[in-house]
């Protein structure tokens, strides 16, 4: 029994499956947030899989995903800006995700990356893992700021004034 693969399977079941439901129902903002969360979960799962299969080169997938995930979310935030600005955050799940996204990323990423770094030992692989972790947290901060309802609220307030 391989603990890393077990952790990846659990992450897919607990983290990825609910995001499919979140992206398939509800208002547009919640769907985009679920997609953002899904990229984070998928990236962490890929890192765990790379360690589980003992193939450090698989971590490249995680690196690509850490760069492309926030880029995809920013595509949505840019092209659906009208739809996002038009409606306030009324959905409960979307509001919860809006508030919890950055703390969740800041908590989950070290929880996965630090054990992987310990298993990898000092060297190039560890530096790569750390870069991926920093990219994930930074990308999440950027994308959740782009999506956040607060900015839309401020804009509406400014328009009222």
């Amino acid at each position: 029994m391989n603990g890393w693969l077990l952790a990846a399977a659990l992450l897919l079941l607990v983290g990825f499956a609910p995001t499919v439901w979140g992206a398939a129902s509800g208002p547009v903002r919640r769907r985009i947030m679920a997609q953002n969360l899904a990229t984070l979960v998928a990236c962490l799962a890929v890192l765990l899989l790379a360690q589980g299969y003992a193939r450090p080169s698989y971590a490249d997938l995680g690196l690509v995903l850490a760069v492309l995930g926030p880029a995809g979310t920013l595509v949505y935030a840019r092209l659906l800006a009208d739809e996002l600005a038009g409606q306030p955050v009324r959905d409960r799940v979307a509001r919860g995700l809006d508030r919890a996204m950055t703390p969740l990323a800041a908590l989950a990423v070290p929880l996965v990356v630090v054990p992987l770094c310990v298993a990898a030992g000092p060297g190039r692989a560890m530096v790569k893992l750390l870069v991926i972790g920093v990219l994930l947290v930074g990308g999440n901060i950027v994308s959740s700021r782009a999506l956040s309802g607060r900015r839309a609220g401020e804009k509406a307030g400014a328009a009222d004034e």
């Binding site: 693969l5 499956a17 995001t19 799962a45 890929v46 899989l49 997938l61 949505y76 739809e83």
Partner: protein, 104 residues
């Protein structure tokens, strides 16, 4: 390692099936695009689990960014064109009715 691998494959296949069903059931293209992005992610995970990281790499680039981008851009263009056509139709109707008025 063997049973764990089977569990992972079954799990990834189930996720792909769920995401694909949701993508088929979504009617609005804008809402469908988020489900399609998730379907791309699930497929990339499946390829990684089946030991094909090169396929997963291209699937990630296409599925998570390019497909939603193309979809959203085309939806935007169609909507703009529809709005412009609507305005043109209105104008034609107005000028048409004015012309009728003059004729009378």
């Amino acid at each position: 390692m063997r049973p764990m691998n089977d569990v992972l494959i079954v799990l990834a296949l189930a996720l792909v099936a769920a995401a694909a069903t949701a993508a088929v059931l979504a009617r609005d293209p804008v809402r469908q695009s988020t489900v399609l992005a998730l379907l791309g992610l699930a497929l990339a995970l499946l390829f990684a689990i089946l030991q094909a990281p090169d396929v997963a790499l291209s699937q990630l680039a296409v599925g998570s960014v390019l497909t939603p981008l193309m979809l959203l851009l085309s939806v935007r263009k169609v909507r703009r064109k529809g709005r412009a056509d609507g305005r043109a139709d209105d104008r034609e109707q107005e000028t048409g009715s004015a012309g009728e008025g003059e004729r009378r």
